[in-house]
């Protein structure tokens, strides 16, 4: 049942709704206005009577830097840059992903792929956020690259860009069922080969898994 408590949660993080706006309007100003307007609706002032009118959490602000200028000139509206709590991230159209990732490594020295992961938003049309966390030793700087893809869509593998993506992509495949095109050996990594479903999807309940895997497959009486 914990699933049920969780699903009616407020809408996904701001950029979920913001993105379509950003891509539609070419000027930067309305984007900020939208972002600011969208947020005060969500935070939860009624739930916290104890704290005297807590300022609604920080809002992602547009991130400008020479690097972003360069990318925007090259790719235009397919890409947006924000900074949140001092951390920079790019939201990129899926189609631009291989180019952007390669540019980040080859030209801007983001030579270390720290992590690659995904987040599932079942209510959104493009259900998955895929996130690359990159670091540059030369610049001592981190950046996150985010893109959205629909359920069942694939994403180009970045193993040829960073060898470390190999296991990380396998884990994302294992946990979310997202396929990476061109991955040398895409198969489950943490779960057994015969496992059904992908556990980190929001529609995957822990009780259902207990029944299917533990009780039916392994034949173990469960106390859950």
């Amino acid at each position: 049942m914990p699933e049920d408590v969780k699903t009616p949660a407020p809408p996904p993080p701001p950029d979920g709704e913001k993105n379509p706006v950003a891509t539609r309007s070419p000027e930067a100003a309305p984007v900020v206005a939208e972002a600011k307007a969208a947020v005060p609706v969500k935070p939860v002032p009624p739930a916290k009577p104890a704290a005297p009118a807590k300022p609604a959490g920080p809002v992602p602000l547009p991130w400008t830097s020479p690097l972003i200028e360069k990318y925007k000139n090259q790719y235009g509206s397919g890409l947006d840059a924000f900074t949140y709590l001092g951390q920079n991230y790019l939201t990129v159209d899926r189609a631009l992903i291989p180019n952007i990732l390669r540019l980040l490594r080859d030209e801007d020295q983001f030579d270390y792929c720290v992590d690659l992961t995904a987040v599932h938003y079942p209510k959104r049309e493009a259900q998955f956020d895929i996130i690359w966390i990159l670091y540059s030793f030369a610049r001592n700087e981190r950046v996150r690259v985010k893109t959205q893809i629909a359920d069942g869509a694939t994403i180009p593998s970045s193993v040829s860009i960073w060898a470390t993506a190999n296991w990380l992509e396998r884990e994302v495949y294992d946990m979310f069922g997202i396929s990476f095109e061109g991955h040398p050996d895409l198969k489950r990594i943490l779960l057994p080969d015969g496992w059904k479903g992908h556990p980190l999807r929001k529609d995957y309940g822990i009780l259902q898994q207990d029944k299917e895997w533990v009780q039916i497959n392994l034949g173990i009486e469960s106390g859950q």
């Binding site: 914990p2 969780k6 949660a9 407020p10 809408p11 996904p12 993080p13 701001p14 947020v39 969500k42 935070p43 939860v44 739930a47 916290k48 104890a50 704290a51 609604a56 959490g57 920080p58 992602p60 949140y84 709590l85 951390q87 991230y89 490594r105 030579d111 270390y112 792929c113 720290v114 992590d115 992961t117 987040v119 599932h120 996130i131 966390i133 030793f137 001592n140 996150r144 193993v159 040829s160 860009i161 960073w162 060898a163 470390t164 190999n166 296991w167 990380l168 946990m175 040398p184 050996d185 489950r188 990594i189 943490l190 779960l191 057994p192 556990p199 980190l200 929001k202 995957y204 822990i206």
Partner: protein, 393 residues
């Protein structure tokens, strides 16, 4: 030897992490000495439940494939069904020999997401305990690594001395291994009476002990033969494979998150980042030994400069970070330990992703052991210092 240096060239992706294609009938299989054997999951030298499939030509390793997941507990899924506070003890169970570091990374990540900061005193306590834990983790690594290679005595020495650290943990928070020492916003417990004395006593106690370990191994001829030029990984390969921690530093990259992007109170302390030259097993041994001494330096400065004041920051009783995402990482004893947290504004995390150093470092095993002998595989698994609880989560 496999690991050739190719700076700037990334064709490591084609070499690294072989896929043995076990199903396809191999022509050469019948007319040569090639043999596929299975090491683990029940094998004392795999440090838990790691299964490595080795493709051998005689005793020479042609390729490996790691089969992991035997210890998978779905920590990330559990997190989505717990509140932020309830999830805190779970992180201790990932890298269970460095539970304090895990807790530090998690608490700081949530604090960052909530835009609060732990008070100075809490940060100092955190640094002291985390560095003690780093020493404990390195001691456990040294003992088991040496045991794998055939030197039994260091195990007894290191466990004897690690006990002193665990005693301090036990007196501080009641637990020795899965400490759950920190809380979101600071520390739950004030230091006990005599904490500072205990820590100082430990510093004077352990410094000569580290010399003792070195006296046993550093110039020991068998140790040198078993570790020098074994499991070499170049800096370029290490970076491409995302390897961090002492393994990366032993390849000559002077990079430590405590210096590069200081967290907790690390910017207050004076310490060095030891590095190696060749990136072989011996260099990694030297780097970790030097790191223990640097940790002693940090602890000494921290315990002498520990400020007075509160130990908990202004954190509401119910942890409810605003909508947003954060990535925060720390230098755990094994490398970069990161937490990526997505909050939907409720009391439960929408998603927590743990970036485990052991998992990523283990991926380098394949290129490190190619061309070596089976016995060296044991040495390389030891030198990577993996904890399967963290690999599998």
């Amino acid at each position: 030897m496999s690991a050739s240096t190719k700076d700037g060239d990334n064709d490591i992706s084609s070499r690294a992490v072989s896929h043995l294609d076990l199903d396809a009938p191999d022509k050469t299989y019948l007319d040569s000495n090639e043999l596929i054997i299975n090491m683990g999951p029940q094998h004392p030298a795999t440090h838990g439940v790691l299964r490595v499939i080795l493709k051998l030509d005689g005793e020479k390793v042609l390729g490996t494939e790691c089969v992991i997941g035997y210890l998978h507990r779905g920590v990330e899924k559990i997190a989505e069904n717990r509140t932020y506070t309830m999830f805190n003890p779970y992180v201790d169970r990932m890298d269970y020999v460095a539970a304090v570091s895990n807790g530090l990374g998690y608490c700081e990540a949530v604090e960052k997401l909530m835009n609060v900061e732990a008070p100075a005193r809490a940060k100092y306590i955190r640094v002291i305990l985390t560095e003690l834990n780093r020493i404990a983790s390195h001691q456990l690594w040294l003992g088991t690594h040496a045991l794998d290679i055939g030197a039994m005595t260091p195990l007894f020495y290191t466990f004897r001395d690690r006990e002193e650290i665990l005693k301090i943990f036990e007196r501080y928070c009641g637990a020795r291994l899965t400490t759950h020492a920190f809380r979101i916003g600071g520390c739950q417990y004030e230091t006990y009476a005599g904490f500072e004395k205990d820590v100082k006593n430990f510093l004077t106690f352990v410094a000569p002990k580290i010399d003792e370990y070195e006296a046993l191994l550093t110039t020991n001829r068998i140790w040198l033969e078993r570790t020098k030029n074994v499991g070499v990984i170049s800096a370029a390969d290490a970076i491409a494979l995302g390897v961090t921690g002492p393994v990366l530093r032993a390849s000559g990259v002077r990079w430590d998150l405590r210096k590069a992007q200081p967290y907790a109170a690390y910017s207050d302390f004076d310490f060095e980042i030891p590095i190696g030259e060749k990136g072989d097993t011996y260099d990694r041994y030297l780097v970790r030994m030097a790191e223990m001494r640097q940790s002693l330096r940090i602890i000494e400065q921290a315990v002498n400069g520990i400020p007075e004041g509160p130990i908990m920051g202004k954190v509401p009783k119910v942890i409810k970070p605003p909508v947003g995402e954060i990535y925060h990482s720390i230098e755990a004893p094994k490398g970069e330990l990161g937490y990526f947290i997505v909050s939907d504004g409720s009391t439960q995390p929408y998603r927590i992703r743990v970036r485990p150093p052991s998992f990523v470092n283990l991926q380098a095993l394949d290129i490190m052991v190619r061309g070596l002998l089976v016995a060296d595989v044991i040495a390389v698994i030891g030198t990577l210092d993996i904890v399967l609880g963290e690999v599998d989560r």
